[in-house]
Amino acid sequence: MISIKNVSKWYGDFQVLTDCSTEVQKGEVVVVCGPSGSGKSTLIKCVNGLESFQQGTITVDGISVGDPKTNLPKLRSRVGMVFQHFELFPHLTITENLALAQTKVLGRNKDAAIEKGLKLLDRVGLKAHAHKHPGQLSGGQQQRVAIARALAMDPIAMLFDEPTSALDPEMINEVLDVMVELAKEGMTMMCVTHEMGFARKVANRVIFMDRGQIIEDANKDEFFGSPRSERAQAFLSKILAH
């Protein structure tokens, strides 16, 4: 479904990604972890073309992201993305947030879009808040709306960029619960996250990045059992210590 081959990226002279290669199969859940500044977010943003890259290829469902001829908006409309800071549109109600891209991008009629939105809102347990504005919801609630907003586009895969990093500890689980459910339903997911509990529960594979390189790309059990690289061992021992 998602194929990343030898991707390198520079900001000026500074190399942020070095020769990154990996695959996400259909229905697979892949967790990307690593220290701050290791290039995780940059890599996941390359997948839907929010960041450009200078070398290598990324294909999503067979379509090349880096090809200038690719219709990026169309490709992006088929790949859901959830952000660290939610990025709901604050001037629109929750319902409008859910309906906007459905009507403007997919051309669904307004009633159908609202109905679909409400159904997904119900699924993330927030139907009662449909009329509110994002600023009136808690962080956890906003992130669940953001997931529903992405799902409303019927995506073929979902990208999560540190979806729980900006949340109070109390709210992390309500978001992870939604993500776990999604994973169990067979959604193809690529998740940048430090939630190792989530990785343990639903990930098929774990990718560990450091300084723009993929250091470890292993099955979940292998990764948590005996990571091959010292860097990953050190990282794991730090974040799993408590």
């Binding site: 943003k45 952000f83 800071h85």
Partner: protein
Amino acid sequence: MHYHWDWGVFFKPTGVGSEIYLNWFVSGLMMTLGVALSAWVIALILGTVLGVMRTVPGKIVSRIAGAYVDLFRNVPLLVQLFVWYYVIPDWLPDNLSNWLKQDISPVTNAFITVTVCLGLFTAARVCEQVRTGIQALPKGQTNAALALGLALPQVYRQVLLPQAFRIIIPPLTSEFLNIIKNSSVASLVALPELLAQTKQLVDFTANQFEAYTLGTLIYFVVNMLLMFFMRWVEKRLRVPGLIALGGK
């Protein structure tokens, strides 16, 4: 100072039909509002386009808008007006030039010239405000909108501009008031707007204190009303759950 105030002067006949001097102020105010509002429409539309141009990816587009701002912001308004009024018409194609100078009345000519001048001048200032409004929004908003599949024009139309405009209502209000005040330069090119009419009253009656008191008061009251109107607009557009948009 022994000045004999005569407030009754406004109700004296001008000698033309049953017209009194107060009528001059009314027509002057209408002309001021007409020219300022027309120019404001130009300034808002062009300023928004330019402001967007300054924020889109692509250096050339941004530089064109930047050059516009530099040109119109660094030349005094009065100089710009004289250029538009005395110089540009001679550079226009003959038929357009003749139309401006001969076919239409001098007042219409002045009205068009002042509207264009004020509109283009203020557009440069609106541009900078729109630009800062857009740049004040978190980058993630653009990313989120793009990630949903919206094309760049849709991102601006649906996501960025509605938020940016809410942020910049206070400075835009200033600009709106400025355009009313700046329209007084039109009195120098034969447009019978409020200041020109005030001066005319002085010429006719020598009641300069009364004339300028009333003229000043009208400018003041009109701008106060506009300010209250814009505050009402701002309140109406306020987004529930947010004190201020932008930043994180």
